[in-house]
């Protein structure tokens, strides 16, 4: 998504330019761009009338925020306890082999980012992987390979067009 300050302003206006809205505003910006663009943070600090270091402290404290641009698709692998005992480590190993990504890393073409999440609360379906809001249940290493392959193929079709 193309960055522009009007969108950032619209998000700020939606929550109101007050300190208590900081986290909610940043969540929306992060959701929109998959990361927190530097310009957006200065804008937030300016509009909420707070020091930029306060904005950065929040941006670096919470796990969901990223200061680095992330891929067009984010794969969230759940590392909750139920998922762990049912084999998440092997899913991460397989993704490292297939995509050459460790958690937190993005493919060179900015297509896919691999992230871990502490628990998505779908413990009965463990282990789970969430891609674009879709929860994949009872994922095996072979299944996760297929999901990654599907994403790769979709990307290459998109770039051909």
């Amino acid at each position: 998504m193309e960055f522009n300050l009007q969108d950032v302003d619209a998000i700020i206006d939606q929550w109101g330019p007050k300190p208590a809205s900081l986290l909610q505003i940043m969540l929306d910006i992060n959701h929109r761009y998959h990361y927190l663009p530097k310009e957006s943070l200065s804008r937030v600090a300016e509009r909420l009338v707070m020091p930029i270091n306060h904005v950065y402290s929040v941006a670096t404290f919470f796990k969901v925020f990223s200061l680095k641009p992330r891929g067009r698709t984010i794969m969230h692998v759940c590392t909750g306890t139920a998922c762990h005992v049912k084999g998440t480590p092997r899913l991460l190993d397989r993704l490292e082999q297939d995509l050459h990504l460790k958690p937190g890393e993005t493919t060179a073409d900015m297509a896919i980012t691999l992230e871990t999440v502490n628990c998505v609360g779908a413990c009965a379906s463990a282990p789970v992987v969430v891609v674009e809001g879709v929860t994949h249940a009872e994922v095996t290493p072979n299944k996760v390979s297929k999901i990654a392959k599907g994403l790769r193929q979709r990307e290459s079709v998109a770039s051909d067009q």
Partner: protein, 629 residues
């Protein structure tokens, strides 16, 4: 919809909603909880709706997308009412058949019924299934039957009648007295008496007071709050309004994890409906009470489940906790009196008011009253949400309700209390589950996650997993937690890598004891629990890792090898072709072998072998390398 301006308006609406429901010949409940959703529940709902619309059957028949049913292992779940016929693992392709034969006809589709794995018998009705029959569902009773997006459905089942009773018949002091009498304790983990907290908050001086709902369910492996929030948000909202009345609060917040988007969405809808019906806002139900609730999303920090960190985060600051000597009931959010309870705690309140504190106090054990919802997950047959009375023996939860351990494996331990809790071993399987007994056993209630482990789970690895979690989630404010937990994690990671040294266990114990004494908040103080409880019950596993370099559960990668069973290998070559490292050697149609040096223990060969010829071994070494001085 008209605003409800009096208790009478509410009763009239209730009668109308009940009458509307009574006109239905049959209705179909389709679980729309997370697990069923991920298995295709949404398409099932859609298919039912299409069938009804296409044939003009929407007056006498209805499809209800409900909150979580709880029996997540069998999703997507469809229940035909009023007969209570339970169908498991239903695909959208079976909907027409169900409509024609079970809903319009009275037939039961045999192949969709739940099969009792022990007896092989098919069970037709939901209430006869052992998973449900063994439970005492009170808080979670209506989540699985509640039409999520319709407040009138909640009202038709007696919803908001506790609020009406509170506003018309009770003084705030009476509400508090009733909650105190019930013996309700915080369901978020701490177990602090709810009524006492409300009373202190009522007494605290401040012009504005806040009621906050902690829906930042951070314990990995626990999802009961998510399900209640997603499936029955009005029950929580009603509890919060009653709390606001008792305390004298005017504003409320629900702090929900961003990882739970559906909970945020459904709670948002519920709040809008409640406002439209006059159940929130100015002069609720025509009374003098004015109160409104707002939702805030968390941003993926475990520590924000801690009360003071949560409030800091609500103020737009980083989620660092503060010392406990200043109570949040006196100086909480914006330094004003604030009452914080967990989702499940608020969800208990309406029934306490409706039925009386004395009734509630009759359930449970001497010091732990009522019921508790547990998320029974991990290596267990019937994964799902289970609500039982406090004091129910662990054995009943694991075997009777949970259906035991899959694939004929042995039960090893159950982990409760998340990263602040511990592991309960097989020897304590008859332990009655309540706040005190779990604490005595070295664990804690926590928010209610129960992760069952079998003999293929390595307890040292579990301890390492939790310490890794806590290292990442420590906010960094106090040294014991920031540095101490990190050192513990390093020692544990070393042991799992086969680099453990004699004395490591003692070093861990020493660190545990100092961190327990000196950390600032609950996260740090309880961080040693996963380590201490596994050392207490599984010391032999630690010793085997350290001295024999052996992982009996065959989990710790550096201590295992992949082997090929020469009797089973057909030489098909599949593993050789799949291996990313070229570690499998052998000619076609001849037995293959694995080059241990080149093998990275990824397990691709094992997963792809069609003959079950590949197995994992942890041989260890005969005698310890290190000799104790």
């Amino acid at each position: 919809m008209n605003r409800l301006n009096s208790m009478q308006d509410l009763e009239t609406l209730r009668e109308e909603a009940i009458a509307r429901h009574q006109r239905l010949k049959k209705w179909v409940r389709v679980c729309s909880g997370t697990a069923c959703h991920s298995q295709g529940g949404e398409q099932v709902v859609h298919a039912f709706q299409q069938y009804l619309n296409a044939r003009g059957l929407t007056v006498e028949y209805m499809v209800k997308p409900t909150g979580c049913n709880g029996f997540c292992a069998q999703g997507p779940i469809v229940v035909v009412e009023p007969e209570n016929v339970f169908y498991a693992r239903v695909g959208a392709d079976r909907v027409d058949e169900i409509m024609e034969r079970t809903v319009l006809g009275d037939e039961i589709l045999d192949d969709l019924l739940y099969v009792n794995p022990e007896t092989g018998a098919k069970i037709a009705h939901e209430h006869e299934i052992p998973f449900f029959a063994g439970q005492e569902r009170m808080v979670f009773h209506s989540t699985g039957i509640n039409y999520v997006t319709d407040v009138e459905d909640y009202i038709s089942r007696g919803g908001y009648s506790a609020l009406a009773k509170t506003l018309s018949e009770m003084s705030p002091e009476q509400v508090i007295a009733e909650v105190k009498l019930s013996g309700l304790r915080g369901r978020g983990g701490g177990g602090f008496p709810t009524g006492v907290k409300w009373e202190s908050c009522r007494r605290a001086r401040g012009e504005t007071k806040y009621v906050i709902c902690n829906a930042d369910e951070g314990d990995p492996g626990a999802y009961m709050d998510r399900s209640v929030m997603e499936g029955n948000p009005h029950q929580v909202i009603e509890g919060m309004i009653i709390a606001a009345y008792a305390i004298g609060a005017t504003e409320g917040y629900i702090y929900c994890r961003f990882e739970y988007p559906l909970a945020v969405k459904n709670a948002g809808w519920a709040l809008e409906q409640a406002r439209a019906y006059g159940l929130l806002g100015q002069n609720i139900l025509g009374s003098s009470l004015s109160f409104d609730i707002f939702i805030n999303r968390g941003a993926g920090a475990f520590i924000c489940g801690e009360s003071t960190a949560l409030m800091a985060s609500l103020e737009g600051k980083i989620g660092e906790p503060r010392g406990k000597h200043i109570h949040t009931v006196e100086k909480g959010l914006w330094n004003l009196p604030s009452n914080l309870n967990n989702v499940e705690t608020y969800a208990n309140v309406p029934m306490i008011i409706s039925n009386g504190g004395k009734w509630y106090a009759g359930i449970g054990t001497e010091r732990s009253k009522g019921t508790k919802i547990f998320s029974l997950v991990g290596k267990i047959n019937n994964t799902g949400l289970v609500e039982v009375a406090m004091g129910t023996p662990l054995r009943k939860i694991v075997y009777e309700i949970g259906g035991g351990i899959p694939k004929g494996k042995c039960f090893k331990a159950v982990q409760t209390g998340g990263p602040s809790g511990g592991c309960i071993p097989e020897a304590l399987i008859d332990l009655p589950v309540d706040y005190e007994k779990l604490k005595e056993a070295g664990s804690m209630m926590g928010s209610g996650g129960m992760i069952v482990m079998d003999n293929e789970t390595c307890m040292v690895d579990v301890a390492r997993y939790f310490l890794n979690f806590l290292t990442e989630e420590s906010c960094g404010k106090c040294v014991p937690c920031r540095m101490g937990v990190k050192r513990m994690h390093e020692i544990l990671a070393g042991i799992c890598q086969g680099k453990g040294e004699p004395g490591d266990v003692e070093r861990l114990e020493e660190l545990c004891n100092s961190i327990k004494e000196s950390a600032l908040c609950g996260l740090g103080k309880s961080a040693p629990n996963p380590v201490l409880s596994t050392i207490r019950y599984f010391r032999d596993e630690y010793e085997a890792h350290i001295h024999q370099k052996k992982c009996a559960a065959r989990v710790c990668k550096p201590l295992i090898t992949y082997e090929i069973d020469l009797d089973k290998c057909t030489g098909c070559g599949r593993c050789r072709m799949k291996c990313p490292e070229g570690a499998v050697l052998g000619a076609k149609k001849e037995c293959h072998v694995i080059d241990e040096e080149a093998c990275v223990r990824c397990g691709i060969c094992l997963e792809n072998c069609k003959f079950g010829a590949i197995y994992v071994e942890s041989v260890g070494i005969e005698s310890p390398i290190f000799v104790q001085p």
